[in-house]
């Protein structure tokens, strides 16, 4: 993205399609005299594009309060949005923990959430398959739900054969992950898995 604001690249500083008189009067050599910048190292040399520069944070449509997704320090982040796209993520000066500062990963959060490596489509690999296939999301959800129900039924243990103690569980389904997720997500996972009787539920707190 053009670092110095939106200017049509390649358009030179002199010729900008305005009236001849404007053109001549904007010629920096003349401005060196008018603006007392004899050596042409100051304001006279400034191009109209540079003068019109404004930071993306000022021209953004919205600023959203967020928290860095990387480590557990919990640094405050400000997410700037323009035309439905994230244009900048930087530290939140109001955070009493981070005071507007970030580490290299926190500073790279915009690159993370807009990374070209991100996937946007469901990918499906059939058993013994050799390549990915596409799959509509709702069909994938249906297939996963079927498999949960089928596996659960096939591996259900109502009670312990030996002691007769109630088990009401399945050891056919396991889950791993949670430390990078929200509390609300962890809650629904634990609630649903427990109701399904799945007990091999784990996350990164354990590694």
């Amino acid at each position: 993205m053009h670092a110095m604001g939106r200017r049509r690249p390649g358009k030179s500083g002199i010729v900008s399609g305005r009236t001849l008189r404007e053109l001549v009067s904007s010629w920096p050599v003349l401005r060196q005299v008018k603006e007392h910048d004899g050596l042409g190292r100051g304001p006279a040399a400034r191009s109209p594009g540079t003068a019109a520069l404004a930071p993306r944070t000022e021209t953004a449509d919205a600023v959203v309060r967020s928290i860095c997704p990387y480590c557990a320090v919990g640094c405050g982040q400000l997410v700037f949005v323009k035309d439905g796209e994230i244009v900048q993520i930087e530290g939140d000066p109001d955070s009493p923990i981070s005071r507007g500062r970030l580490c290299p990963k926190g500073a790279a959060t915009k690159s993370l959430v807009t990374s070209p490596s991100r996937e946007y489509r469901v990918k499906y690999r059939r058993p013994y398959g050799t390549r990915w296939e596409e799959l509509p999301l709702d069909q994938a959800m249906d297939m996963i739900a079927q498999r949960v129900i089928a596996t659960r039924a096939a591996t259900w243990e109502h009670d312990d054969a030996g002691t007769g103690a109630s088990l009401r569980r399945t050891t056919g389904i396991a889950s791993l992950g949670g430390a990078t997720l929200d509390n609300e997500e962890n809650y629904l996972m634990k609630k649903l898995y427990t109701a399904l009787g799945a007990i091999q539920i784990e996350n990164q707190a354990r590694i």
Binding site: A3, G40, T50, L53, I89, G106, A107, K110
Partner: protein
């Protein structure tokens, strides 16, 4: 001083730098600076190498076998220097002086900025810089360097690197204030026994008239890849023009001389 307030600058206190490179990433993220190659350089934890068109911030890492002072459990005989290098925004800037198109200009904040919509890639600033900061970007042709976040300054914001720096090693503010603060910091460090602490680029009498981004270092500047006594080349320009004039005159005289005496 001008109507935009006092000249601003950076004071980088390398004694509190933890080499995290947040400055490098925050700068690239704000300015859209391209990624600069994934090569392992085996130069301690520095895989950036140096400042350039695609690295406007560069954190240097120097591992030193430090003679273990007796008694002081100062650690395991190792010292690891870290420092975030940046364009110096010199008071007397060679790149600004030599730039033929006015792409480089002294901003109202006292910083030195390259205008990407003016630069025609003549490359003159590259060998002129006594710190080896600015460079031409391959396949783009133009010269690039730290702009001191000129667009952010315009809106009263702090440069991206200074805001991100976790330990406030990079401090942004009015240059005079920073110089006073730095002087206090270096004398306090020296009192606490860090005798090797010294300032670099703070002295307005040096060869570039004092840097707009100056440093507190813990060893000689060249250990960090910095020139010990940089001088703006423009200081000697007048002498060069005199020599050129003399040469021109001797050329003219020489040519005239060959016609002396005979037409043939």
């Amino acid at each position: 001083m001008n109507e935009h307030g006092p000249r601003v600058g950076f004071f980088t206190d390398t004694s509190v730098c933890i080499g995290c490179k947040a400055c490098e990433v925050a700068c690239k993220e704000w300015n859209g600076v391209p990624e600069d190659g994934l090569d392992f350089r085996a130069t301690s934890y520095d895989n950036t190498g140096m400042l350039g068109a695609n690295s406007w911030r560069h954190v240097a890492f120097v591992e030193q076998a430090r003679p273990v002072p007796s008694g002081d459990g100062g650690g395991s005989g190792v010292r690891w220097l870290m420092s975030s290098d940046v364009c110096k925004h010199c008071t007397r800037a060679a790149c600004l002086d030599v730039c033929p198109t006015g792409a480089l200009f002294r901003s109202e904040f006292g910083t030195v900025v390259v205008q990407a919509d003016v630069c025609n890639g003549c490359g003159y600033c590259v060998p002129a810089c006594p710190f080896g900061v600015i460079d031409q970007r391959k396949d783009d042709g133009r010269a690039w360097k730290c702009t001191f976040c000129y667009d952010r300054l315009g809106a009263g914001l702090e440069p991206a690197c200074a805001q991100a720096c976790p330990t406030d090693s990079i401090q942004f503010g009015p240059l005079d204030e920073l110089r006073a603060r730095a002087a206090r910091r270096v004398s306090r460090l020296q009192e606490q026994g860090t005798a090797e602490a010294r300032l670099y680029g703070h002295d307005q009498g040096d060869g570039v008239g004092g840097a707009g981004a100056f440093f507190l270092l813990l060893d000689d500047p060249e250990v960090y890849g910095l020139p010990p006594d940089p001088v703006v080349t423009t200081r000697d320009l007048a002498g060069m023009w005199r020599a050129a004039a003399a040469a021109a005159l001797s050329l003219a005289a020489g040519v005239a001389a060959v016609f002396a005496g005979s037409r043939r």
